[in-house]
Symmetry: C2
Subunit: 151 residues, 2 copies
DNA sequence: GTTGACCTTCCCATCGTGACAAGGTTCATC
DNA sequence: GATGAACCTTGTCACGATGGGAAGGTCAAC
């Protein structure tokens, strides 16, 4: 199947405004790897193919990829993005749905932030009491080891 | 090798203050699953075994497991915990080393918190401008899709 | 001696991403 | 019209920390 009867067809596609996966990755900011991955997850529809089996993307696809990138940037999970995408595509959706999702995600973020913050504060307290010099005494290790803090 | 010449030996071990993995999990707060995992990673030494090949743990082992649990709770990675454990075991360590690690970890936490916080704030701003009713207009989706916010 | 609780090892899944391998396609250049 | 670079294809493996489950062995108690 080397250089057989197939017209190149990729150049044709390009002339019609299609992008190869590499080009799509470049202009959408999503790596080619991840584009394929999202396709395999069903997050985006299967890309059209050239006769040489190369994936091609049009402006709409790129738009969706940008949507995904931005959503990831805001910390939405792939599943949540799936829902957001379908809401995005549905011109008749109620903004209520979207807002509900966003608020739930904000709550998630808040709880993660709270967790990290309490780790941070606990550790900072310990570090404050640690001399941090050549001596072996160390309240940090003492605490990790379960010793009550020396008064 | 069913009921062969082996003395039970587990009850003996128990009498000598050893704990089975399930018991160790219970009193250390680390699941049996994770205890085995930590062993396979080399984070803790290979446990002693009974003749029936059951792992047994003594008070020192439990102490180390608790140390690990607390460290994880503060968000240290397994690798960092490996270092902390060796510092903990080394009675001559300088507290400087430990403090350095703790401060580096605090910096990590701060940067993660910052990331989440900026996600949260960006999303909160968008959500504020979303009516959240039955209408389809939605600044959140508009932004994700790349539309500049309507003024 | 049988039952049931506990243990053993091994494999798979998560989540999002990256790296690599082995091979096919396209295209420009000689 | 052949060669080689740049790109594409599918596939597998890995991360980090954890959980789930299967298939089978051991222990204790009745």
């Amino acid at each position: 199947m080397r250089s057989a009867k197939n017209p190149p067809e990729l150049s044709t596609a390009r002339q019609q405004g299609y992008y190869s996966i590499g080009r799509a990755a470049e202009i959408s900011g999503v790596t080619a790897k991840m584009i394929r991955h999202y396709e395999s997850l069903g997050l985006i529809p299967e890309a059209a193919r050239t006769l040489g089996d190369y994936r091609v993307y049009d402006a709409t696809d790129i738009h969706a990829l940008r949507f995904i990138r931005r959503s990831r940037h805001l910390g939405f999970s792939i599943q949540e993005i799936g829902t957001l995408l379908s809401l995005w595509h549905n011109k008749r959706r109620a903004s209520k749905e979207v807002k509900r999702l966003a608020l739930a995600h904000i709550a998630d973020l808040d709880s993660k932030i709270g967790e990290l913050q309490s780790m941070r504060d606990a550790l900072a307290t310990l570090a404050t009491h640690c001399h941090g010099d050549a001596r072996p005494e160390c309240p940090i290790l003492d605490d990790l080891g379960g010793l009550p803090p020396a008064e």
